[in-house]
């Protein structure tokens, strides 16, 4: 049965379930320790939520194709597979939340950040109130993910990316630093999002946005994917990571539960695009083998095996839909 994904600001039941489910997954032990993932230090049990932190980091450090240059494009970013890979990741988190909550019809909520970006003071938006995600700080001191060193059940960051792009163990509270000058002073606005759907001729719009992606299929490409990923145009997805700051900056950004709400909105914007332009994807299989991992029938870096390809993610309606598309 397909679930419906809703706005976390208005659907407080979904909000409460999400917060509860995240904290349950944070406390749920897996059978493996940090050693199994090559993380230095004493072997420490890895919890289910933190698998998603490891996965995101490893997908980033997986050059695609194998032996390629991970600085150019990797298994999850800087190329066409950006949207399919994150769609699979959200699907697996949503399934885990459904399981620990015992609610098979739970749908992951989204955070419509462009609505907040249009506010005079986005840092005071409802998403950062104690009943939602809590506010900023090093560490944050409000909301459901506050760290208490003496309470083993409190939310904590246990695994993070180091500057040299290795994983390391930590035991600390979650950090956010809104609007830093080295990050982004602003969130994307509703007008920025509207530009992403404006395919009129220039100077008003950009007809290339009607096409999913273009050669050279990287962070310099024209087209919708790179506009939404944010290496071109107003910055959208990337800008949100940079504005929130703290744990949303490094490759271990799934450490902040707002990561999944953010990416759910990114996925919703992709659905909005497909609603306008069809469930299309590029590049096809005639593209160079150097693009292996990003072509439509290539396997995604995911536990779903070779069956999970970009093509297989294009129509998610058997799994979920959104209450409202942008």
């Amino acid at each position: 049965m397909a679930v419906v994904r809703t706005d976390i600001i208005t659907d407080t039941a979904a909000r409460d379930a999400y917060v509860h489910g995240v904290n349950l997954l944070k406390r749920e032990s897996t059978a493996l320790s940090t050693t199994a993932f090559g993380i230095p230090g004493p072997p420490t049990v890895v919890h289910t939520y933190d698998l998603f932190v490891i996965w995101h980091h490893l997908a980033m450090t997986s050059p695609v194709p194998p032996g390629g240059d991970w600085m150019v494009r990797n298994g999850a970013h800087r190329g066409p597979v950006f949207l399919p890979w994150h769609r699979v990741m959200l699907g697996l988190l949503e399934a885990n939340l459904q399981r620990v909550l015992g609610e098979p019809d739970f749908g992951l909520p989204y955070w419509d950040w462009s609505a907040d970006g249009s506010l005079a003071a986005p840092q005071s938006a409802r998403i950062w109130k104690p009943a939602w995600m809590g506010g900023q700080g090093r560490p944050i001191t409000t909301g459901p993910f506050v760290f208490n060193a003496g309470d083993p059940n409190s939310f904590r960051v246990r695994i993070e990316t180091a500057p040299d792009v290795t994983l390391r163990q930590v035991d600390r509270g979650l950090r956010r630093a809104f609007g830093r000058p080295t990050g982004s002073l602003t969130l994307p606005t509703a007008a920025d999002l509207a530009r992403t759907f404006d395919t009129r001729p220039p100077p008003t719009g950009d007809p290339d946005l009607a096409t999913y992606d273009f050669t050279p299929w990287n962070a310099g490409s024209r087209g919708f994917r790179n506009q939404l990923e944010g290496f071109r145009g107003p910055g959208l997805h990337n800008q949100v990571h940079r504005w929130v700051g703290g744990d949303m900056g490094p490759a271990s950004s799934p450490n902040d539960p707002v990561f999944f709400l953010h990416h759910c909105n990114v996925d919703r914007i992709w659905e909005g695009w497909m609603h306008r332009h069809g469930r299309s994807y590029r590049p096809g299989m005639t593209a160079s083998p150097a693009l292996r991992g990003h072509r439509i029938d290539d396997p995604i870096v995911s536990p779903l095996g070779p069956a999970a390809t970009p093509r297989s993610t294009l129509d998610p309606t058997a799994v979920y839909s959104y209450d409202v598309l942008p």
Binding site: L58, M60, T61, D69, W70, M71, G91, A162, T166
Partner: protein, 126 residues
Amino acid sequence: MDPQALTTAAEPAALADYLAGLPQPPPDHQHGPARSVREDAYQGHRIVITTTYEITVDGRPLPAHVGVSNDGEVHCHALPAYQVRSAVDIVRALIDNFPDDFPEADGDPGHGGHPGHGGHGEHGGG
């Protein structure tokens, strides 16, 4: 997308085993100066540009993967959502994003006070 396949793959044991089996980056891939290679084809000619960054912060070498893309913008793999015009800006962003790795210097409680940076016009990669 197949809901049943998703549910099966989402089992923590399945996800954990899958991730533990992924190739881990070689342990010493981060040593030495950060090197990036740009390749281009133009008018039948093959262009290869290798850029090396040797960066220190407080006199210590910075073990970060700083690279430059074909359009001359600089990024660092540890910060996937960043791509900026200047290598100086990416190092500043690293300092802000990894506070544990760059403890606050004595007598300099703020940021932005590092000498030798004239603003945003400097192209680290160009």
